[in-house]
Each structure stands twice: as structure tokens, then as C-alpha cells.
Amino acid sequence: MHNDNQPLIFELSTEGRVGYSLSELDVPAVDLAAILPSEFIRTEEAELPEVSELDIMRHYTALSRRNHGVDSGFYPLGSCTMKYNPKINESVARFAGFANIHPLQDESTVQGALELMYDLQEHLIEITGMDEVTLQPAAGAHGEWTALMMIRAFHEANGDFQRTKVLVPDSAHGTNPASATVAGFDTVTVKSDENGLVDLEDLRRLVGDDTAALMLTNPNTLGLFEEHILDIAEIVHSVGGKVYYDGANLNAVMSKARPGDMGFDCVHLNLHKTFTGPHGGGGPGSGPVGVKADLIPYLPKPVLVKTEEGYHFDYDRPQSIGRVKPFYGNFGINVRAYTYIRSMGPDGLKAVTENAVINANYMMRRLEPYFDLPYNRHCKHEFVLSGSRQKKLGARTLDMAKRLLDFGYHPPTTYFPLNVEEGLMIEPTETESKETLDAFCDAMIQIAKEVEETPEVVQNAPHTTVIGRLDETRAARNPVLRYERETVEV
């Protein structure tokens, strides 16, 4: 690794240096003052860096070498499913018929693309056990919100305006209460029991005729399967509420168990997690939503339908919650997910789940002697260790996460879920070999020993990265959000 101090692009700037040449103006020059109001006309030069093409290339290539992605190393970030993105996905997404079409083209000229979307919907219907799927939502939280808006429309159509509450377990992803709030609901927290599962007594106490829905991840964020899921669904249904499946952890049950068979009324999927869209590079994601029959009228429109004449966008949906995204979702990501499903096949997807689960259990049992394991049961695709033992010796989970950087790993999710003290949430995914899992476990075990013998090595980590331990407190309390020439001290 280059231990160089890479300046900001602004600091590389040299006055008058130009990295481009524009051709002569070959259209009539226009006086901006004649066509724009004066407040929109810039009076000072834009402060852009002045660098050559080669300067730019070297600068950004140097920065790109500092990235960590699943293509460069192990990335066991819990509940994020940082699995390998097969490169065949990229080849297919670049087919001219997919890459060069425009969303405003006439339907008759893009029948192949529409067929792919329709078939993807059909595959997702089969995988989730739902009755209909929309591909519109742009990512997971957007899918959550879309589903909640449909639930809201359903209740309002029944005159149930008093259903203002959405129940969310205390181990839920933070997006669940956030989506409920944005959709206009009040969030009510359901406790977990001593096994880390939904406390059925607490749930019974909280449901009522003001319940709009329960949002649930299964397996939950502790990586544990909610084994009373049929009872949970029955409790919520008995008071007229809907049960929503957060698909963040679908990788643990895909092709083994279906949300539709567990009693869920709607579900979102993260195609950028479970179905190998690129993930972690800032997007885009794709968060399709599946629903049971009684929610179909409320699906976002247009709805893609198959007729005798071909595939067609149906706008005649009077009860629809409307459009939730311009055009038809993140089409390129949906092409990748379709490619993945078709190249894996049903047996392949089953093997994905089996390997994701056995990998997580293998690591959990290898690490169990060295760390606390608050919920010691068979896990699904991920498990949560606690750094409590190490904290007593002076090294917190944050320190251990930083130390992992020295070994070339992206750290696991830390301090989540909130019901585990000093939590370390590890999700290996199915795509890692036993050698990789062992090497990571060896690093974790070494760190646990360092905490006992030489804690300062862990407390002051990382040691081998380009930049050492950052002062996160100072960064949060006094953030410098943009470059300003005058105030920069080098």
C-alpha cells in the first residue's frame, strides 16, 4: 500500500493550467443577460481546480486504490449481505437492447426489456410467495415506505382511519421506524424475549384496532429465525393489522421458506443485496415490493401487465398510491438480478442459502470461545458477538473493528443491533471459501489475544493504513464540509 499523502484536487491546482481544449464555437453566441434573470448569472469565476488530464488521472487512480470492496477483500458487514457480484451481470446489463433504450420509447419498441421486467416479477413472486410484485421502488427503505403507503391506502379504503400505529421489534433495522414515520404512522416498539425473538406477550398487549401493521425481519437482526412467526402473524391479523416482511435478511431463507407462507401480507426485497446488484458503492439499489391479493389495487402505477398483444403499462388503477419513482424502477439493477436468478436456477438459489447459513454457523462456533455470544443458538446467515469481555480489559468493539483494518478486512457491523452490548454483527455470505473464513477467524482470535496481552496495539489501531485512527468526535462536532481556500491549513 502506498503510504503517500494524497493532496486534495484543489491543492494540486496551478493557476492557468488547462486539461481540456474546446472546439471553436459553431453556433451563434447568446448574451446570457438577455435570456436569464440577473440573479442566476454568475459574477465571479467558479473556483474549480486547474489541473492537467494526467494530474486528474493520477489523483483519482491513487484514491481508487484506497477503496475496499468485495472485489478486493472480505467484507463481512452484518445485515448488509456484501456478497460477490458476478461479472456476467455486468455483461448482460451492457447488452445494447438494455443499455441503449430510453424510458420514453414506445412500448412496442422495448418489448424485450418489458418481458425481462415481467419475468423478473414472476420469479420474485415465486421466491416470496406473494401474488404480485412492483419493481418501482429504488432501494430497501423506499420499498418499506411504498408498502406502508399501500397498507395505509388499504385501511383507509376500509374506513379504518384510526389505524395509526406500526409495531416494530426493538431489534429492527433503523429504517423500519423511519419509514413508518415518513408514511405518517406512529411507531410502537415491541420487546424481544430472552431468546432474542419477538416477545409474544408484549405483542398481544400492544395490538389493537389502532394497529396498521407489524414490520418484521425474519430472520431478525440477531440472525435468529422467528420460530413463532405463524403465531405472530395470527396475532396481528386477528386485530385487522397487516404483517410486513423486511427482506434485508432474505439471503438466509431464500428458496427454503417463503414470506408468503409465513403469513406476511407484503414484502420488500433488496436486489442489490440478495440478488447481487452492486452494493456499497453508493447505489443505485432496487427494492421491489411484493403483495398479497388484497393489496394489489394499491400497487404503484403503472403496473406492467401481459396481454395478448404483448407487454403493456397499465395506468388504469384508480386505487393506486400513484407513482413512487420516475419511469419504472432502476432497470439496470433489475437486469442484473434477473441474470443472477436465471444463471443460478432454483437449485442454485437453495445452495446460496445453505452456504450462507453454514458459513455463519461455522464462524460463530470458531469464535465462540474467544468472545461473548449473548444468543447462543443456531444462527441463520449472520450472528452477533459481544465485545463485553474485551471491554472489561480496556478495548472496545470499536477498537477491535479498527484493528481488523490492519489485517485487510472490512470490519463487521458494530454496535448493532442495539439490544447487544458492544455488538459485532458478522455476515460472511455464501461466496467466501473456508480458507477466507478461517483467515478472518484467525485474525479475530489474534485480536482477542492482543486485548489480553498487549491491549495498546488494539486501542491505537489501525497501524498499517494510509491514515491512522481518526478523531471521530472532532469530525462530528466540528465538521469541515467543503474545501475553502482561505481556511485550509496544510
Partner: protein, 126 residues
């Protein structure tokens, strides 16, 4: 660990100090040490009504955001505006400079029902 004897405490790690019929509320030394460096404090507005055991604000540390749970019900009559610019007070001076709100209690019996310093210490030692 410091737990002043003259204060009352909630299981959610707030302290409560009675002053002339009103109560001053903040979070405990134990709470700030668990949270780590505090970088932002979100408080209610003067005039808001707190409801016992319901969230009334939040504290954000480098690693997490935690809700503040009202130890008692009552009306907010004063908030500590200095915490907006100086969230570090919560770490440096949890019982003094980092008081968060002053409340007119709806029911003084709720204050009497809070934990004593001894009871609170027993909880955090677990």
C-alpha cells in the same frame, strides 16, 4: 462511578433534581460513559408536554443515537440551549453543566416513585 445522593434516577439513566416545585433532568455519568463522546443533543421546546416513559429528545454519540426517555410527565419550562453548541458538556459535566430540561411535574408522586441513588447504583452494577 459517581452517583450523587441527592438526586433521583430512572431505569433509563436519567437523573432528576427537585428545585422549588420544578425538576431538572439530565442523563447520568454512567449513561454518558456508555454512549461515548456526545456530538449532538436534541431537546424538546419550552411548552412541550413530556409523558413519562415516552421519548422527549435524543443524544447522538460517535457510535449511536439514543432516545431520552421522560422520567416523569410534565410541562417543559426551560431547556439548556448551551448543549446545542457544547454537547461535550454531557461527557464533562453530566450532573451540572449538562442539565437538559426543567419541567413542571404533572404529578409529584411520579418523582417520589423514582429510584434512589443506592437503587440506581445496584442496577448499573449488574
Amino acid at each position: 462511578m459517581s452517583t450523587p445522593k441527592d438526586l433521583r434516577y430512572s431505569e433509563e439513566h436519567e437523573w432528576v433534581k427537585t428545585e422549588d416545585g420544578k425538576v431538572r433532568i439530565g442523563i447520568t455519568h454512567f449513561a454518558q460513559s456508555e454512549l461515548g463522546d456526545i456530538v449532538f443533543v436534541e431537546l424538546p421546546q419550552v411548552g412541550d408536554e413530556l409523558v413519562a416513559d415516552e421519548p422527549f429528545g435524543s443524544v447522538e454519540s460517535v457510535k449511536t443515537v439514543s432516545e431520552l426517555y421522560a422520567p416523569i410527565s410534565g410541562k417543559v419550562v426551560e431547556i439548556n440551549e448551551e448543549l446545542e453548541d457544547s454537547p461535550e458538556f454531557v461527557n464533562e459535566s453530566p450532573y451540572d453543566k449538562a442539565w437538559m430540561v426543567v419541567v413542571e411535574p404533572a404529578d409529584n408522586a411520579q418523582v417520589d416513585a423514582l429510584l434512589t441513588a443506592e437503587q440506581y447504583e445496584a442496577i448499573i452494577e449488574e
